[in-house]
Amino acid sequence: MSATIDAQQVRRLARELLAAHPPATTGRTAFLEARFDAGLAWVHYPVGLGGLDAPRSLQPVVDAELAAAGAPDNDPRRIGIGLGMAAPTILGFGTDEQKKRFLRPLWVGEEVWCQLFSEPGAGSDLAALATRAVRDEDGSGDWVVDGQKVWTSSAHVARWAILIARTDPDVPKHRGISYFICDMTDPGVEVRPLRQITGEAEFNEVFLTGVRIPDSRRLGPVGDGWKVAQTTLMNERVSIGGARIPREGGMIGTVAKTWREQPALRTHDLHRRLLTLWVEAEVARLTGERLRQQLVAGQPGPEGSGMKLAFARLNQEISGLEVELLGDEGLLYSDWTLRRPELVDFTGRDAGYRYLRSKGNSIEGGTSEVLLNIVAERVLGLPVEPRNDKDAAWKDLAR
C-alpha cells in the first residue's frame, strides 16, 4: 500500500471520511476518532495506529482538505507534548499493546500527556537525574518510584506522563536510566503549581512518593532509557518549516506599531536600538525562510539548531526595548494574580509579561549555552571538552 499511495488517494480518503462523518452533524471527539481510524491522523504512522504508512509530506494534503470542510482539529497546541514527544517515542520503542492503548486517545486529545524529565538537580545535565525506580521485591515485577521532577508543563491536566528514572546507580549515569509511562492519577503522584517570575504557574513541580508502575508500562529495555529519551528530545527541537512568517510577524511588529502610533514616546537612543533590532528580526525571519526552503527542497541544513538561539535573544532584547519605549505605561503590569494558563501567549499579554516570559526562551528546551556547545561540536566539529563523568558510577558523582 505504502509504495503506491499518493496525494490523490489521501484526498479521496479524506473525502470519504467527511462523507461518512459530516463535521456539521458529528461530535468533535467522534469525528477525531473516525479520522484516526481512517489512517488520516498522521499519515506516516503505521496502518491501524492512525496512519497509512504514507510519506509524511502527504499530511498537509489531508489537513487542508479537512480544514476546508470545517472539520474540528485536535487542538495540537494543547496536546503538544503528547503529539510531539510521547507519540514518536511510543511508536519507536513501545510494545504493540502500548501503541494500541495510548496512541488513539493521545491523538484525539482525550488524554493529555506531560513529560517528567527535568529535576531540581538535573536540568541541562539531564542524565544526572536522581529519581529512583526500584523493582518491588513482592514478586509483582512492579517498579516503585521516588523523586522530584520540575518544570513540568501540563502536569495539572495530564492523564499520563513519560518518565525517566534511575534504575541502576552503580553504573555510569547514562547507562542506569530506564524509561516509563506514569499514570498521573496513581497514588503518590503530587502536582504542585510552580509560580514563575510572570506571576503565573505555567509549570509544575511533581513529587513522586512510592508510585507503583507495572513493568508493562516500561518503554524500551531496563537501563536503556537514555537512548529512548534521545528520541523524545530530538522531537522536542523547535520545528521550523511550517508557515511563512510575514515581515514584522514576530514581537518586533508590536514594538514597531507602538513606535508608529505614539510619536511622543520616540527618542534618538530608542530609535537607534529599534532599527538595529528591526534589521536583526528581519534577517532572522529570512534565515527561517531559507531553512524552510531547504526543507521543502529536501536539503535540510543544520541551521535549525541556531534558530532557537537567535529567537531567544531577539525576543529578550525586543521586549526589553518595548518596556522602555512605553515609559510610564512600562512601569505597570497587567495582573500579578496566580493564574494557571494552558498555553503560553506572547501576543495576548502586555509588554511587562513579554519581557519577563521571554527570559525563559534562553533556558527552556535547552539553554543557549548548551545549544552553543552543540553547534560548536556537531556543526563546526570543534573538540568536545574533557569530562570526568562518563565512566564513573552515578553514585560516585558529586551532587
Binding site: 532599527l275 528581519e282 534577517v283 529570512l286 531559507r290 536539503q299 537567535a310 556547545n373
Partner: protein, 372 residues
C-alpha cells in the same frame, strides 16, 4: 509599499547552475589567487593579475553576467553575480569585479539605447576587454547618489575604488554623466595608500578633460542610484564570503593549535564565540541571498532588501575578521598570515557603498519608522 506587505517571495537557495559557477570560480581562484599569491601581488607594482582577470571575466564569462545576451553578455542575473562575488570575497583576490562588472555595468544598463555610446562600452565591459569604474568616493551610499551629481569635468574625486585598473571613468557632474578615458588628456589617477590592500583606491584628477556625455542629470541620477544599489546589494555577498573564510579558518586553526595540553578549540569560551559567529554567517547568507534575489527580480522590495543586507552583513564580516585575528593569537597579528587581508577588506567593506548606520537610516525611511 508598507512594512507588512512583501512584493516578492524570495528564492533564498542556490540553484544547480549557480553551484556549478561557484565551483568554476573557486577552482580558478585556488589556482591563481591563493593567500601567498594575493600577499605577493599586493606588494608588487601590479596589484591586478591580468591572467586571472582574463580567465574570470572572459574565460568563465563572469564579467557579462548582468548584461543581456543581445548586448554582448551572458544574460544571467544578480543571483549568479553574487555567487562570483562570494568567492572573490572568500579569496580577497584583487579584481575590479564589483566596481566594473556590477556597479559600472548597472549604470550603463540603465542608459543603454539602440545607438548610444553606452551600448558599445557595455559590450566591452561584458567581454572583459575593458574595465570601467564610477568616479565617486567608494563610501557613497545608494541613498546619496542624487547628491553626488555635482561639479564639472574639472575637479578631483578621492577614494575611487579600482580606478588604477580602469580604462574608462564614469563621471557624474552637475550636467549629467560622462564617460572619460583614463588615458586621455587632462586625466590623472593617483594611487592612494589604502587600508584595504586588496582593493586599491585612487584620487582621480580631471583638468580640462573631455568625455562622452552618456546622460543628462535626471536619467544620470537614476542610473547612478541603480549602480550603487546593485553594488551595495552584492557587496553583502562579498562580506558573506569574507566572513565564511574567517570562520572556517578559525575553526580549522583552533582544532589544531594546542595550549594547556588541549586543542584551544575545546575551550568553551572559544567554542561559544565560534558558534555565535556561525549563526551570524548563516543569517548573513539569508540576508545576502535575499538582496541578490530582489535585485535579480527587479522587485520593488530591492531597496529594503539591500539596506537590510548591508546593515547586517557589514557587521558580520568585521566581527568574523576580528574574531579570526584574536582567536589565531599571535600568528593572527603577523604579516605572513592572511588574516589581516580579511580584516582590512572587511573593515573597508563596512564603509563601502554606505555604512551600516547609513543603511539603517534607509530602512527607517522605507518601513516608516521615523526618527524623533
Amino acid at each position: 509599499m508598507t512594512a507588512q506587505t512583501e512584493a516578492h517571495a524570495p528564492d533564498l537557495l542556490y540553484s544547480e547552475a549557480e553551484e556549478d559557477l561557484r565551483s568554476a570560480v573557486r577552482s580558478l581562484l585556488a589556482d591563481r589567487a591563493d593567500a601567498p599569491k594575493v600577499l605577493a601581488s599586493i606588494e608588487s607594482d601590479t596589484p591586478y593579475d591580468q591572467r586571472l582577470w582574463d580567465s574570470l571575466a572572459s574565460g568563465i564569462g563572469a564579467a557579462g553576467l548582468l548584461v543581456p545576451e543581445k548586448l554582448g553578455g551572458q544574460g544571467a542575473s544578480h543571483r549568479e553575480a553574487a555567487v562570483v562575488i562570494e568567492e572573490l570575497g572568500r579569496s580577497v583576490a584583487p579584481a575590479p569585479y564589483l566596481t566594473s562588472s556590477v556597479v559600472a555595468t548597472e549604470v550603463l544598463l540603465a542608459l543603454v539605447t539602440d545607438d548610444g555610446p553606452a551600448g558599445e562600452l557595455l559590450a566591452g565591459l561584458a567581454a572583459g576587454r575593458k574595465v570601467a569604474v564610477l568616479a565617486l568616493p567608494f563610501a557613497t551610499a545608494p541613498a546619496d547618489s542624487a547628491r553626488a551629481l555635482t561639479g564639472t569635468l574639472d575637479r578631483t574625486v578621492t577614494g575611487v575604488a579600482d580606478a588604477v585598473a580602469a580604462d574608462v571613468l564614469l563621471v557624474p557632474t552637475g550636467e549629467g554623466l560622462y564617460a572619460v578615458e583614463t588615458g586621455g588628456d587632462g586625466v590623472g589617477v593617483q594611487p592612494l595608500v589604502a587600508l584595504d590592500l586588496t582593493r586599491p583606491l585612487a584620487a582621480v584628477t580631471l583638468s580640462g578633460a573631455t568625455g562622452t556625455r552618456l546622460a543628462e542629470a535626471g536619467p544620470a541620477a537614476a542610473a547612478v542610484t541603480r549602480g550603487l544599489l546593485a553594488g551595495a546589494g552584492l557587496l553583502a555577498s562579498e562580506q558573506l564570503g569574507v566572513a565564511e573564510w574567517c570562520l572556517t579558518e578559525t575553526v580549522r586553526y583552533t582544532r589544531e593549535r594546542h595550549q594547556f595540553n588541549r586543542p584551544v578549540g575545546s575551550f568553551q569560551s572559544l567554542k561559544h564565540r565560534m558558534a555565535q559567529l556561525w549563526l551570524e554567517v548563516v543569517s548573513a547568507r539569508a540576508a545576502a541571498r535575499n538582496a541578490a534575489d530582489a535585485l535579480a527580480a527587479g522587485s520593488p522590495d530591492a531597496p529594503l532588501a539591500v539596506a537590510v543586507a548591508q546593515a547586517y552583513c557589514s557587521t558580520v564580516a568585521v566581527h568574523a575578521a576580528e574574531e579570526c585575528v584574536q582567536l589565531h593569537g599571535g600568528i593572527g597579528m603577523t604579516w605572513e598570515h592572511p588574516a589581516h587581508l580579511y580584516l582590512k577588506r572587511a573593515k573597508a567593506d563596512s564603509i563601502a557603498y554606505g555604512s551600516a548606520g547609513r543603511h539603517r537610516d534607509a530602512v527607517a525611511e522605507l518601513v516608516e519608522l521615523e526618527a524623533p
